[in-house]
């Protein structure tokens, strides 16, 4: 089940990580060591088992629909790499 360089490139792209082939190849060794370790799960009798996403059975955590405080805009923008006119500034998305 080892990942190939091609799969590494594709996954890095999905994860939005700009990594060179040299960096990906370096990461392949630890990643594929884990992939090999995962093989042991294939032998488990799991067909009839329900998946658990959450260890404590909590369902439908309702609360009252009340108006609360929100973060003032100034504070929400305080950590932004770039902000202007009360907005987050990002590189241009739409071409002129």
């Amino acid at each position: 089940m080892a990942l190939t360089l091609e799969q590494m490139r594709h996954t890095a792209k999905l994860a939005r990580l700009e990594l060179s082939d040299a960096q990906l190849i370096e990461l392949m060794r630890p990643i594929n060591a884990l992939m090999e370790h995962f093989e042991r799960l294939q032998a488990l009798p799991l067909d009839e088992v329900e998946p658990t996403s959450h260890s404590i059975p909590v369902f439908n955590a309702f609360r009252e629909d009340v108006v609360g405080e929100t973060l003032p805009r100034e504070q929400a923008l305080a950590n932004a790499p770039e902000a202007r006119d009360g907005l987050f500034i990002v590189p241009r998305i739409v071409e002129e």
């Binding site: 990580l17 060591a33 992939m35 799960l41 488990l44 088992v49 329900e50 932004a80 790499p81 990002v90």
Partner: protein, 493 residues
């Protein structure tokens, strides 16, 4: 070193309440000690001496007005993945190196209200991913027992700071052992509460279905005091559970006659060093000699836990860490590359190798065509593990076993070995997967390094876990030996 520093939280709290020392004097003494010990241990990312003195003055005013509460005026410190309003919170990552949260985590808010004094933010593995604190983007932390060794991780700074008496207690977070493993390595007490016992609001998320905040302290009593302050339902965290929060100090009774303790066979295999197993078995024997009923039990799925964890945790992390994209906070690199190019460049520059590795594993495990083979299988495996725990807890009240397979390893020793480092968590991970409470208490030494006894309980039964831990602590009489870590003592002498 000022002898007040080696007292427990409960002891120093009494002195504050009896006016034997003021909160400001005490905080000054702690800050002076930090200035001497910290260059050796490097437990902090951001010390906050000015904030500490300000909080100490406020605490003293409350003490002067007659208010009494166990944390009022007590210097503590926080893992740097807990949001602190106005104080930089980095997660030991380049990508958050300049992030100043606009709000407090719920646990931070509660400690503030209880009057605790914050002396700083503590080092950790980047985004809590690691077992040695060597994956911090800033610097490694050293184990106060042997400065050439790791303090464990990911809450390595939290454990080392308590062991080195730079704080009376700290908070850590535990996703696969990140409180208990460093507590064991540093000879202190660490508790991972039941999932849902403590609000995660304001804890920077790693793997949301496993993460839980908990205390690291010098004694079990201190642990109960800290848990009292942070536990309880929080409207900001829908996974926090609406259950009665007991007074956890009720657990502090020495008598454990009739308590049924299970010894899980698999937790003495899996690479557990024979000397560690022997030390823990001796402790269990002593508990039996004072009336605990001990029986061997089996949890075969525990041996699959590492595989299950390293699918589920990276899958959740790949989703949680998608938010670091250079737009709203943190690092931004490559603004000239367009918005996608900027995100890719920012994330590549901002995350360290271990985090990048886990994001890739998690993204792959969740990607189209592989979901059933990895993520779904791991979730089903988690169900089987939980069922086996449920089964065992029909026969016993708590489980006792080692916290870690070995004592602390050397700095650099495992950093390049992809699996060996992860095996340091092999005995703690099953507890997170099942959502259970787990406590590590010091139980002896192997080659002059502390070893931890792990006590695992039923969901929301922290009382029994703390009770067994307290009974052991009273029996063991290790307090004098644990008081001053040898490595630090040598360089400070």
């Amino acid at each position: 070193m000022n002898e007040l520093l080696s007292l427990s939280l409960a002891e120093i709290s009494q002195k504050l309440q009896n006016r034997e020392i003021s909160a400001v004097e005490l905080t000054e003494a702690v800050l002076t000690h930090i200035s001497v010990a910290e260059p050796q241990v490097q437990a902090f990312i951001t010390p906050t001496p000015e904030l500490a003195l300000e909080m100490a003055r406020q605490a003293q005013a409350r003490l002067d007005s007659g208010e009494r509460s166990p944390l009022l005026g007590v210097p503590i410190a926080l893992k740097d993945n807990l949001c602190t309003a106005g104080v930089r919170t980095t997660c030991a990552s380049r990508i958050l190196h300049n992030f100043v949260p606009p709000y407090d985590a719920t646990v931070v808010k509660r400690l503030r209200e209880a009057g605790a004094v914050f002396v700083g933010k503590l080092n950790m593995d980047e985004f809590a991913m690691g077992s040695s604190t060597e994956f911090s983007a800033f610097h490694p932390t050293r184990n106060p027992w042997d400065l050439e060794r790791v303090p464990g991780g990911s809450s390595g700074g939290s454990a080392a700071a308590v062991a080195a008496h730079m704080a009376y207690a700290t908070l850590g977070s535990d996703t696969g052992g990140s409180i208990r493993q460093p507590a064991a390595f540093c000879g202190v007490v660490g508790l991972k509460p039941t999932y849902g016992r403590v609000s995660r609001y304001g804890l920077v998320a790693y793997a949301s279905s496993l993460d839980q905040i908990g205390p690291i302290t010098k004694t079990v009593e201190d642990c109960a005091i800290m848990l009292n302050a942070i536990a309880g339902k929080d409207p900001h965290d829908a996974t926090s559970v609406n259950l009665h929060t007991p007074d956890f100090r009720d657990a502090l009774i020495e008598d454990i006659k009739g308590i049924r303790l299970g010894v899980p066979r698999e937790f003495f295999a899996q690479g557990v060093q024979p000397e560690v197993a022997e030390t823990v078995r001796k402790a269990i024997g002593l508990l039996e000699s004072v009336g605990a009923e001990v029986q061997e039990v089996s949890l075969p799925m525990a041996e699959q836990s590492l595989a299950i964890y390293y699918i589920l945790a990276p899958a959740e992390c790949s989703s949680n860490l998608a938010r670091y994209d250079g737009v709203r906070y943190g690092l931004r690199v490559g603004a000239e590359k367009g918005h996608i190019g900027m995100m890719e460049a920012t994330r590549a520059a901002g995350f360290g190798k271990e985090v990048t590795q886990r994001i890739i594993i998690g993204t792959y495990a969740l990607s189209s065509g592989y979901y059933d083979a990895f993520y779904l299988k791991a979730q089903k495996g988690r169900t089987l593990l939980r069922q086996q725990f449920d089964e065992v807890f029909r026969q016993v009240d708590a489980l006792v076993c080692p916290t870690t397979p070995t004592p602390a390893f050397k700095l650099g020793e495992l950093v390049d070995d992809p699996l060996a480092m992860k095996l340091a968590d092999v005995l703690t991970i099953p507890v997170n997967l099942a959502g259970l409470p787990g406590l590590s208490v010091p139980c002896g030494f192997v080659n002059d390094l502390p070893v931890g006894l792990q006590i695992i309980g039923k969901p929301f039964d922290e009382l029994t876990v703390l009770r067994v831990g307290y009974a052991w602590e009273q029996l063991a009489c290790l307090q004098d030996e644990l008081r001053m870590p040898r490595g630090l003592a040598k360089v400070l002498a």
